[in-house]
């Protein structure tokens, strides 16, 4: 499978196009800060959240793939300022929400508590993103309307409001894991130099998918 498949499947699983590095048409967005404000604690937290989303099974999980470290790099370099802010503020909300639900920090929760919490967050994210889409719609339409009256070089890209922070975290967990060495070689199958092509290769149910 190639990366487009990966992005497509992440989009389907999280209900939103993968954030960062879109095919922007026009205009220069303000790039994010060089230091988005990640701390070692943030990264540990993201590793744990990631591990709940994609745990160690017969093969290593998100923590082994260092998805927290990947998120730091990706959010810092590939997110816009607005998306970055939403992500960083989201890390605080995540901790607060977990305290509210279970009366303790995410990292102190049991596996069942963690899952319960993240599923509730995902429901919250779904509602949040839907509301965001509805609210963005008139602004987006007005923006496109204005663009259509402008000469090509004066048109600008519409930047919608950021998705819910959990949508971002889940997307980056999937992206980071399935492009990591362990994800590609242990959870998936990877052959760097196949040497030949077989278009009728036998497949038995449960066989792993090819990485890239």
């Amino acid at each position: 499978m190639d990366r487009r498949d990966l992005l497509k499947s992440i989009a389907l699983v999280t209900g939103a196009a993968v954030i960062g590095g879109d095919f922007f048409l026009t205009g220069c967005k303000q790039a994010g800060k060089s230091e988005a404000g990640f701390t070692p604690d943030n990264i540990r937290l993201l590793d744990e959240v990631g591990e709940t989303i994609l745990p160690t099974t017969q093969t290593p999980g998100a923590k082994a793939a260092q998805v927290g470290e990947f998120m730091k790099v990706y959010v810092t370099d590939c997110y816009t300022q607005r998306q970055q802010n939403a992500f960083m503020e989201g890390l605080i909300s995540l901790q607060d929400s977990c305290e509210k639900m279970h009366g303790k920090a995410f990292t102190d929760c049991s596996e069942t508590e963690r899952k319960e919490f993240l599923i509730s967050l995902e429901k919250e994210a779904k509602a949040f993103n839907q509301k965001r889409d509805e609210e963005d719609k008139p602004t987006r339409e007005a923006h496109e309307q204005r663009n259509s009256t402008l000469p090509w070089k004066d048109q600008t890209e519409f930047e919608g409001s950021p998705s819910h922070y959990y949508t971002m975290i889940k997307q980056l967990t999937l992206l980071g894991f399935f492009t990591s060495q362990t994800g590609m070689t242990e959870t998936l199958r990877h052959v760097p130099v196949p040497g030949k092509y077989d278009g009728e290769f036998p497949y038995a149910k449960g066989d792993k998918a090819w990485a890239e």
Partner: protein
Amino acid sequence: MNLNTNAESQNTYDAIVIGSGISGGWAAKELTEKGLKVIMLERGRNIEHIKDYVNANKELWEFPHRGRRTQQMIKDYPVLKRDYPLNETVLDFWVKDKECPYTEIKRFDWYRGYHVGGRSLMWGRQSYRLNKWDFEANAKEGIAVDWPIRYEDIAPWYSYAEKFAGIQGSKDGLEVLPDGEFMPAMELNCVEKEVKKRMAEYYKGKRHLIIGRSANLTQPHYDRINCQYRNRCWRGCPFGGYFSTQSATLPAAMKTGNLTLRPFSIVTKILYDKDTKKATGVEVLDAETNLTYEFKAKIVFVCASALNSTWVLMNSATDIWPDGLGSSSGELGHNVMDHHFRAGAKGRVEGFSDKYEYGRRPTGIYIPRFRNIYDDKRDYLRGFGYQGGAGRGRGVEVAEFTIGADLKDALSVPTEDWQIGITAFGEMLPYHENKVTLDRNTTDKWGLPVLAFDVEIKENEKKMRIDMMNDAKEMLEVSGVKDVETFDHGYAVGMGIHEMGTARMGRDPKTSVLNKYNQVWDALNVFVTDGACMTSASCVNPSLTYMALTARAADYAVSELKKRNL
């Protein structure tokens, strides 16, 4: 300006080749093999075969952003960011947009590769012959001007080019897509074979699905190793598995001992002698030192890529023709073409869950043109061919709010069903008013004037796009594909990266820039053999035609030199 005037003897060659991409590489190979001393001038840096393919063997996890794009990249590449070329794995191979701006009166996506090898390193490698109708259509329909050549003129040169380049493909015996000298074809996968069969049945042999013919080796060839099915061609192939200047034409030219390759050499103009009505050489701006040099030669091959070749002509002999060498017809810079695409259909194929693919095939399927040929007649001219493929994606059938081991497992296996998708590539007509001009008010990093683009698709292309979607849907549906959806992702001219026209070939110096051997009418020792020369666009990928036309022109140039006609 610093003129290096005392170097005349050491700067004199038999031939100058401007540009080192597909056409320039072929010109250098042919001319040196025929014994000429040649200098190939490349405006960008050198990229050495294998050694400089820095990302060729990297795995995705070795890229900090896993191959995606950063905000900094988006800022630095205002053009490249508009489509797939901008990504972390191939960034080195594309031009730095900001150093080389251009003016867009209308949007034009110009994806350029300024280095040795040009876009031969990043091309799609699809290799098709134009057919006999392609060369006749303009005359029959009263569009633009007639091609000065017919299929029979170029056919032997297609064979010649294919044998050297190494093109894999099947012989299908189709008038619409002439067979060539092919290496054994890459294999269709099981789903593609089934769709091919069903399509052939339904359309009673009038529509065909074949393997995409491509410049990927299926057998060792000269010093090159056959394709290893990594499908990472665009990062440079350490096996030489696909045709590029570096893997094929440059080593052949170097082997003769007759080639000098000079990177960082921006040709600013062709030097023209009005008494002999010939070019005497070129002026070069060294991109690193900003020093100016002159190189002299008996013949000049302009292979700088379509629009840059025209830019060089526009800057040349302006004391005689204000709009440049080759502008006497009023057609220089006009008739810009590309292939319009990104419209088609896709769907799901059931019943092949016990099959998968092994290896990453660097080509897909091709469905040759079927519109407006034989007894088919549409409300637009010309037609389109489809490119695409079938494959089995990865688990996306995940229930809402699934996390944990269930999610991981679901995403670790392929989808139950295969998917198939096809995208049409349509012919764009040559319109006089679609043009590039020199914008002298805007300059690049070196203070040189830039091109201004005023190009658009018109009614003919827009009507065609409707068929491009609907025909795709019909063909997939009659082949048993489920949940077929059409798409039109939108097209801006240039996105096809098949820039053509602006110095067209023709039969009459009053209406064309080049004659039937790609000679500039106004300076017969100047040959333009890249996409600029195209009189019409056909709907097939054009690079193989540039190879054939370049080899043909080089052969003619040398025979004329021998006869002392040049």
